[in-house]
């Protein structure tokens, strides 16, 4: 029983690590720049104009 729960913690930690790696790879591929490009100018759609 104890092993099953230890495994579930391990699995969650592994998934967190995978998610962090994914975000690092995405950022390295220039995705963070795309986010910045949208976030640094007024979003007309958000306001209800565009």
């Amino acid at each position: 029983m104890k092993d099953i729960h230890s495994r579930s913690v391990f699995l969650t930690l592994l998934l967190i690590l995978a998610a962090v790696c994914m975000s690092v790879l995405g950022a390295a591929a220039g995705e963070a720049e795309s986010v910045f490009g949208k976030a640094a100018v007024i979003c007309m759609e958000c306001i209800g104009i565009g």
């Binding site: 029983m1 104890k2 729960h5 230890s6 579930s8 913690v9 699995l11 969650t12 930690l13 998934l15 967190i16 998610a19 962090v20 790696c21 994914m22 975000s23 690092v24 790879l25 995405g26 950022a27 591929a29 995705e31 963070a32 720049e33 795309s34 986010v35 910045f36 490009g37 949208k38 976030a39 640094a40 100018v41 007024i42 979003c43 759609e45 958000c46 306001i47 209800g48 104009i49 565009g50």
Partner: protein
């Protein structure tokens, strides 16, 4: 102080993430354009808010999906998944400014009883947020292109009341040049915002319960997140108080990992036996075994 700890943290986080004071000054630079805008804040927070220091995760997700050359949004998805895997919907309960606003509106006393939506209406409505996430945030921004090849952030454009409030209202008040461009879309979004805010007086967090795509995303990780709510069966006396105080209509003593739980901790405060607490998975299970 401890009684209001959550409200203090919600307010503090809201102020911290919208701390670009210069943006609120008439005639000043309208938006913060520093390096922090590369990063997504974990809660709903429009990046067009004059004070916003970070990017809205839902807007950022659509922005990447809207690109001409389609690609998997690894950066935004990875960040959100990491947060979800770590704390689940704890973000909704503790670090969302729009959630706080709805809670404050719900505290307004009214001469009529607060609305208790019957289960048979409430349950299907709760699934609506998954539809919003899959269709308006992911599906349409990924698949639809205008004749010029541009994508459309459907959720931000047609639905998001957070953007209307934080971006729309402030930008229109501060920026004269935007006012002549206002049309039916702005009126539609203002109507949705008004509906959302007015319904919040009678219903606890209606946007979070039924519409929020970010809450829907985080809820997918509730059952496997590292931080969860622990129920100590040795202490629980099945009094049902935790269920009665939960405004999200969760029954923590039956399902502490419910997808609808925003981990606000009100059930823990109310429990006379102190049977509920936050814990890291594993620790909880081992204690139960002892």
């Amino acid at each position: 102080m401890a009684k209001h700890l959550r409200k203090i943290i919600q307010t503090g986080w809201g102020l911290l993430t919208n701390a670009y004071v210069k943006g609120f000054l008439p005639g000043g630079q309208t938006l913060y354009t520093g390096p922090l805008k590369h990063f997504c804040v974990p809660g709903m927070n429009c990046y067009s808010c004059p004070g916003a220091l970070g990017a809205c995760p839902v807007g950022a997700l659509q922005a990447v999906l809207n690109e001409r050359h389609r690609r998997f949004p690894a950066y935004v998805f990875g960040c959100l998944a990491a947060v979800g895997l770590f704390v689940g919907r704890f973000i909704c309960g503790w670090l969302c400014l729009f959630g706080l606003l709805q809670e404050l509106l719900y505290m307004i006393p009214v001469p009529i009883p607060k609305l208790d939506i019957p289960d048979k209406i409430d349950r299907p409505l709760r699934r609506l947020k998954y539809l919003v996430l899959s269709v308006l945030v992911i599906g349409l921004p990924l698949l639809y292109r205008t004749k010029y090849g541009a994508g459309v952030p459907f959720f931000c454009k047609y639905l998001c009341p957070v953007g209307t409030l934080q971006g729309g209202v402030f930008q229109v008040l501060l920026n004269d040049t935007l006012r002549p461009a206002l049309g039916w879309l702005f009126r539609w979004k203002m109507l949705l915002l008004a509906l959302c805010l007015l319904s919040s007086v009678l219903i606890y967090r209606p946007f979070c319960k039924y519409i929020c795509p970010l809450g829907a995303f985080y809820s997918l990780f509730q059952r496997i997140s590292l931080i969860r709510i622990r129920l100590d069966n040795n202490k629980c006396v099945d009094c049902g108080i935790c269920q009665r105080v939960c405004e999200m209509k969760v029954d923590p003593h039956k399902d502490p990992d419910s997808a609808e739980c925003i981990r606000c901790g009100e059930c823990m405060k109310a429990c006379p036996m102190h049977a509920l607490s936050f814990s890291i998975i594993g620790k909880h299970k081992r204690q139960s075994e002892d």
